[in-house]
């Protein structure tokens, strides 16, 4: 066991770290803003809004992230409509494909989290809003989404952590993230313990930061219902 192989390759781990802390927030960003309208659609009683979003979340929550990434990366490259059109400039790049599949995946989970929160809204508050003369959109903006989003903070924090850990899958499509760096170091020096231990510690620190951030968010936005 020699951790000198880690110090010799600190640059590789740094590059991987940068990729991870770029890719994950970007995917979360896109996923979050996709999930906002999707969750409202998913919670609606209109079948034309409800069922398409349900199929979307059903597919992305029902299949492993790894399968989705492989489908997007190797699968789509088999079709000439992707390969020979302008689409290819997007799908050629492993990073963009990874970002796309992560965004869609986290969008699906986030949609279901928000949907749950929307459906659990106290009926009285919505009726009160109606009684005040608010239209559906105003209600959504002023009452439904603010309350639902606040209530989603704890479970959304979990989703962020899952996304961070799920992002390790991108190392399988030639993106060098933290796990990718560990895999390269492991395969070059045959030191799985050193390589993956280091990667694990980095993920642990990142998770710790995420937990801290969400604790602050809960304090700020959920203090009124703290017991």
């Amino acid at each position: 066991m020699s951790f000198s192989i880690i110090f010799d390759n600190w640059k590789l781990f740094l590059e991987g770290f940068v990729v991870t802390i770029q890719l994950v927030p970007l995917a979360l960003f896109f996923g979050f803003f996709m999930a906002l309208p999707l969750s409202v659609m998913r919670a609606s009683s209109n079948p034309f809004l409800k069922w398409p979003t349900y199929s979307f979340t059903y597919f992305f929550r029902g299949t492993p992230l790894l399968v989705q990434v492989y489908l997007f990366y190797y699968g789509l490259a088999q079709f000439s409509i992707v390969k020979e059109t302008i689409l290819w400039s997007f799908f050629k790049d492993a990073y963009k494909v990874g970002l796309l599949s992560f965004s869609l995946n986290t969008a699906a989970y986030t949609t279901e989290i928000f949907r749950g929160a929307i459906e659990r809204l106290p009926l009285g508050q919505i009726e009160a809003a109606k009684a005040c003369g608010m239209g559906p959109l105003t209600r959504l903006r002023r009452i439904i989404l603010p309350i639902a989003l606040r209530k989603s903070i704890p479970s959304y924090g979990n989703e962020v952590i899952f996304m961070l850990h799920g992002s390790s899958i991108c190392s399988l499509i030639t993106i060098i993230d933290i796990t990718g760096a560990a895999r390269i170091v492991n395969s070059r020096y045959y030191g799985p313990v050193e390589a993956f231990f280091t990667a694990g510690v980095i993920y642990l620190c990142l998770t710790f930061c995420i937990v801290g951030i969400f604790k602050q968010l809960e304090k700020k936005f959920l203090s009124h219902i703290r017991r």
């Binding site: 190797y74 490259a77 088999q78 390969k83 290819w88 050629k92 492993a94 399988l172 030639t174 895999r183 390269i184 492991n186 395969s187 070059r188 045959y190 799985p192």
Partner: protein, 264 residues
């Protein structure tokens, strides 16, 4: 009553596990050899349509075992974990076209080589990419991660090209066909049989010289053994020489190649 059954069941399980352990233990040391293979490196090692392992490495494994009088089981293992799994005693030898290099010798012992073939680049026909530092500037090259080819491209062209590293050789082929990479670097035989001669491979061609630089490409492919298993290494060495001498090796390689890949 129920409790008694439970107890009986427990005793039976314990008894069975003792018996099977004892049996496996005594057999293994005598003449059972577990061999780690990769299964994603045609024509040397691949999973056939029927789900069985096939290829040059596989046939050679069975031939060597027969020669040694050992009973062999093949264990499929992905490349990037193939040496760690040997060290973790998941199997006793690696027969997976593994080149004998100084770096690997620090972790494992090798037998004598069982074949040697040069490495080569492949480009798309009409792409006009030349194998020089200037000609490859900014191009992307696909290699299998942690291979001699990875070491070579990293060591010689690392600053000039983008290196895409894949877990399996097959994945590099897929991305070459998809157009995500400009060049492939791999063993010339593997490229020829596993890529150029496969459907769609005729749009690609070899480019550049045969690469054999010993510093990177080692002394040919050998069988990797744990360092302490010197006796097994000796048996493998004897068996390799024997199948070379008695014609078994030739018979096997004729199935796959038109020339002698054993080298000098």
């Amino acid at each position: 009553m129920k409790r008694q059954f439970k107890l009986l069941f427990l005793v039976m399980i314990l008894g069975a596990s003792f018996v099977s352990n004892g049996w496996a233990g005594s057999k293994k040391s005598a003449d059972k050899v577990r061999i780690g293979v990769e299964g994603a490196y045609p024509p040397f090692s691949e999973v056939g349509k029927d789900g069985k392992m096939k290829g040059f490495d596989i046939d050679i494994s069975y031939a060597l075992c027969k020669e040694m009088g050992a009973e062999c089981t093949l264990v499929k293992q992905d490349w990037d974990g193939i040496i760690p799994a040997l060290l973790a005693k998941k199997y006793d030898a690696i027969i997976a076209s593994m080149s004998i290099t100084e770096k690997r010798k620090k972790k494992v012992a090798f037998t004598i080589k069982y074949y040697i073939t040069p490495a080569k680049f492949v480009r798309k026909k009409g792409s006009g990419i030349e194998i020089t530092k200037a000609g490859m500037k900014g191009k992307s090259v696909g290699v299998q991660s942690a291979t001699i080819h990875d070491n070579y491209i990293t060591g010689v062209y690392g600053k000039d090209v983008t290196i895409k590293r894949y877990g399996k050789q097959d994945e590099a082929y897929l991305d070459m066909k998809a157009g995500r990479i400009d060049l492939l670097l791999a063993d010339s035989i593997a490229l020829d049989d596993g890529f150029l001669k496969k459907p769609g491979g005729d749009a690609y061609e070899f480019v550049g010289p045969d690469l054999t630089e010993k510093k990177y490409f080692g002394e040919g492919a050998g069988i990797a053994i744990r360092k302490e298993d010197t006796e097994l290494a000796g048996r493998f060495n004897k068996a390799i020489k024997a199948i070379r001498a008695n014609g078994t090796y030739d018979k096997i390689q004729k199935k796959y190649f038109k020339f002698d890949i054993y080298g000098k």
